[in-house]
Assembly symmetry: C2
Homo-oligomer: 326 residues x 2
Amino acid sequence: MRAPLIDNLQYADFSPEIFAQMREGGVDAVHVTIAYHESFREMVLNLEKWNRWFEAHPDLIFRGTHAGCVTRAQETGRTAIFFGFQNPSPIGDDIGLVEICHQLGIRFMQLTYNNQSLLATGCYEDEDTGLTRMGRQVVREMNRVGMVVDMSHSAERSTLEAIEHSTRPVAITHANPHAWHAALRNKSDRVLRALTEAGGMLGFSVYPHHLAGGTDCTLESFCGMIADTAGRYGSEYLGIGTDLCQNQPDSVVEWMRVGRWSKVIDYGEGTAANAGFPPMPHWFRDNRDFGNIRAGLLAAGLSETDTDGIMGGNWHRFYDAGFGPA
Amino acid sequence: MRAPLIDNLQYADFSPEIFAQMREGGVDAVHVTIAYHESFREMVLNLEKWNRWFEAHPDLIFRGTHAGCVTRAQETGRTAIFFGFQNPSPIGDDIGLVEICHQLGIRFMQLTYNNQSLLATGCYEDEDTGLTRMGRQVVREMNRVGMVVDMSHSAERSTLEAIEHSTRPVAITHANPHAWHAALRNKSDRVLRALTEAGGMLGFSVYPHHLAGGTDCTLESFCGMIADTAGRYGSEYLGIGTDLCQNQPDSVVEWMRVGRWSKVIDYGEGTAANAGFPPMPHWFRDNRDFGNIRAGLLAAGLSETDTDGIMGGNWHRFYDAGFGPA
């Protein structure tokens, strides 16, 4: 069977049209964000919305819970949808909700979004105090049940401590190397080395704020950066996590950034002059454009095998090792 | 492999001691009540408590989700714990929570406890208006996902309408025939005929208020009643649902009866003079006494095969047909 195509981070305004595009693009699995600042009950409402989509469109999508679902997706011509949180808000201060959320299909959880959480420090805080007391306990519990620790939005020290403390490999599902584009959300050599040496995965983001040159970033620059990263850390630790926010109104990027934690606006990676979702680069507009990235990787000199791994094989292996009980 | 031993209703004050008694008694599976008047979030807290027991006592118990878990329990010398609600309180007015609860392992839900619910009428109401608009929708949704409709505490018309409306067999997990003991909670011939003609199951209760003679009911009377019921409706529709409330303080029976719906006391099946949990009959005190019932059934003239079915084989077959998607 051909290597699977996996996008390990999307937060689109999902709809049957987008599910059809996933099929058109041959996407076998997508990890979708279902919570930023939601309470447990609000997150469950988001799960209910997905359950209705699964019921209404069984020919296009189904709920993914383990690596075998990716294979099943390939065999049945559908897309397996895996769930994750970009913030630990849904579990609040209740560690028992980690296992409950795993039972509901949650497979990734960021220990923080941009702010300090009950577990660790986000990348926009002034001070990074690393893992909290609860953070250390929750990482152990995530390790136990098979929920992947995702440090995409976390600050440096917190990220290094999570990698160190976790007994299972950690993921940075959507970010790029800081050396290529010095954005606050992109990751230092130190983090990427610690991550990959511990068997963790980096998913390359196509979100313009993470790209050198932003929306104008060329496919050649993006894929050259991936080839360079493969040379530096090993291609087997690399995958795609586009951070595709297709069709979302700008009110949603405001929700992502501000939630209910502030009464005044915070622009996050944006600015007052550029507050909304930035336009995507012309070579990646939606799920139908993964072929461009694949071609770009081959053109950048990566082998067919390495390219297969980066386009999904590596995430598939990581799912297999990460989603079950320890 | 020997026929399994299944008790399809308990609400004990569970503890490692009781789990050890389940093993001593050779009980392969137990359906436990995890909600009466709990909100969704409170019910999840109860699930979290069970998850901690499963983690701490994997040598004794594990979470049961489908019929195969009963076989696994037999093979590994443990007890599979299946979950159910005695009231639809946890789903409130949100039909999407039916599937969420099924994903969390809930396999039985009573449409009512003693009162009118959003779905149907309980057996203590003056007027029984049958299935509500939401009740009809929820029965369909339970049919779809594989959650068994349980009418143990519901009023007559509501019960008949549920049996009629449900496309899959219904259960009365814990009650006895009204003809044997004319308690409000026991079931009429009309209900038992409709139930069993539609492939549904009756679980015989050992709760003293459901027994002819109460606590003093003899094993011979109880087993004779079962043999008579088998002759009338067919033994294949019969099982055990003891309603064992072992070690519960009387505050718990008050919670079961009053919850938060009344500021004044309601005695339910009890009376002001006999408000607490009644003492169990001497021949069934806890999970170690199923051998008495088995011996009583054989003594009452039931065949070995029929007895095997009533002691667990019939519930096992019902689980197999009932717990998966339609």
